[in-house]
């Protein structure tokens, strides 16, 4: 076993290895029955499958650090089942299978910069930027004077993703989108 984390090191975003798979911690809470030993309840997301598991660690237990390397990479092109990226430090080209990218592939526009996570040297997933900007290639025309609160319409972006936008937003405009919630943030000049 290599480097380990103690339960007192736990925080969101920690990358750990359990049963041979890499996980990221998405929730942790100290729990202790009044008359019992202390534990930390956690939720852990498998970085390969995306499945979330719940584990409860006894205080003082250790868990292996995942051998994760993160590199900034630029998306180049899609090639069958492989998405090709270029490592922006080594200029090495890396192909990542579409299964590992999942729905995030909707946001892969040319030259977008993502972080590629490698587990034991093997790419396992990508982290998108929290926000992207893209052009609306299609939406219904805006309704002049309609300022109804909360009313939205679907808009298709150049990357292929469809998001709901307020009625006043027009085709051809660039908008900012939160990739974590898939929601419209604002128009971009």
């Amino acid at each position: 076993m290599g480097l380990t984390y103690q339960t007192s090191d736990f925080r969101n975003g920690l990358k750990v290895e359990l049963d041979g798979d890499p996980y990221v911690m998405t929730y942790f809470q100290f729990v202790k029955p009044g008359k019992g030993t202390a534990f930390t309840r956690t939720k852990l997301k498998n970085l390969i499958s995306g499945n979330v598991i719940e584990r409860t660690f006894r205080s003082g237990e250790t868990v292996a650090q995942a051998d994760i390397e993160e590199s900034p990479m630029q998306f180049l092109y899609e090639d069958g089942d492989l998405y090709q990226f270029m490592d922006m430090e080594s200029y090495e080209q890396v192909g990542i299978h579409s299964d590992l990218i999942g729905d995030d592939s909707d946001y892969l526009i040319d030259n977008i910069e993502v972080r590629v996570l490698k587990f034991k040297g093997r790419p396992v997933t990508i982290d998108l930027p929290n926000f992207i900007e893209d052009e609306i290639t299609y939406c219904e025309p805006g309704v002049k004077g309609n300022t109804a609160q909360g009313a939205t319409k679907p808009a298709t972006l150049a990357c292929g993703k469809t998001v709901n936008v307020p009625l006043f937003v027009e085709q051809g405009e660039r908008i900012k989108v939160d990739t974590r919630t898939h929601s419209y943030v604002s128009r971009v000049k």
């Binding site: 729990v31 029955p33 309840r41």
Partner: protein, 277 residues
């Protein structure tokens, strides 16, 4: 952030607790927080201060008061526990404890239910009727595997599977005898209940142990475990052992006041329910 509204509600809670207890004839005792011995607890870490300890609960002092002839007593004030940090834990927190002569843990459960109704009424927060389940049944329903012999695995199963399932206000009755603490043991069960609500442990009650010999055995066993784990043993306070042998049949309970307020108000962190330290 300090919310004036929250602090008003907190004051109303403290008032409601005191007014119910006072009306029932309970006497408020302001116990010392700096004490000779902090606990009979294998898993609680107390702060050492200048050759003494900070109490982890008012239990010892109230036992002595009970033995002195006062039959209904309570304490509402700060307690201190080291190594407990989280959304439901703090090194300093506010605890309510009351003890009543001439009853057992069932009578204390009736007190608790009446007190919660009063508090809910005063604060304008409806408190549903308490549900009841035995420890053994809660384990069977939520863990669905045999109770492991290893106490750590027992606690792990409890906090992982059972606690999060106890969302409605529920009394969990009759703990395993090895989790008796200060409770009377009958057969393989301790006469002890806990209140859970929204997955949070809010109160712990006993039919109080009245056998000083048994208390000494438990205290020495607790200290042996503490030494084996490299933690300081807690001094045996003869006055407490003596008091346990002198007071009549009694029930008692400890209620976490910060947690109670947190749950009543739907907050997620006890530190939102008090002035942060």
């Amino acid at each position: 952030m300090l919310e004036p509204g929250l602090l008003r509600t907190r004051a109303a809670l403290l008032r409601a607790l005191r007014s119910w207890l006072d009306a029932q004839g309970f006497l408020e005792v302001d116990v010392p927080v700096r004490v000779r011995s902090p606990a009979l607890e294998e898993h609680l870490e107390a702060f050492q201060v200048g050759g003494a300890w900070l109490h982890t609960s008012p239990e010892f002092a109230l036992k002595r008061v009970l033995a002195a002839g006062l039959g209904r007593v309570y304490s509402l004030g700060p307690c201190f526990r080291d190594d407990e940090h989280g959304r439901h834990h703090g090194a300093e927190f506010t605890m309510l404890e009351w003890y009543r002569l001439g009853t057992d843990y069932r009578g204390i459960a009736q007190d608790l239910e009446a007190l919660l109704q009063q508090v809910g009424g005063d604060l304008g927060v409806p408190v549903p009727a308490l549900e009841h389940i035995s420890w053994a049944r809660a384990w069977r329903d939520h863990v669905r595997s045999p109770v492991p012999a290893d106490p750590v695995e027992q606690f792990r199963g409890w906090v992982h599977h059972v606690e999060p399932a106890l969302q409605r206000p529920t009394l969990v009755w009759d703990y395993p005898a090895d989790q008796a603490a200060f409770a009377t043991v009958r057969g393989d069960r301790a006469e002890r209940f806990e209140l859970y609500w929204k997955g949070v442990e809010l109160a712990n009650a006993f039919t109080e142990l009245r056998d000083p010999g048994e208390l000494l055995v438990r205290w020495q066993a607790c200290n042996a475990h503490r030494r084996a784990a490299g933690r300081p043993p807690y001094p045996i306070d003869d006055r407490v052992v003596d008091a346990v042998g002198r007071h009549g049949p009694a029930g008692g309970i400890a209620v976490g006041v910060d947690r109670l307020l947190m749950v009543l108000l739907g907050l997620s962190d006890i530190h939102q329910a008090r002035v942060p330290g």
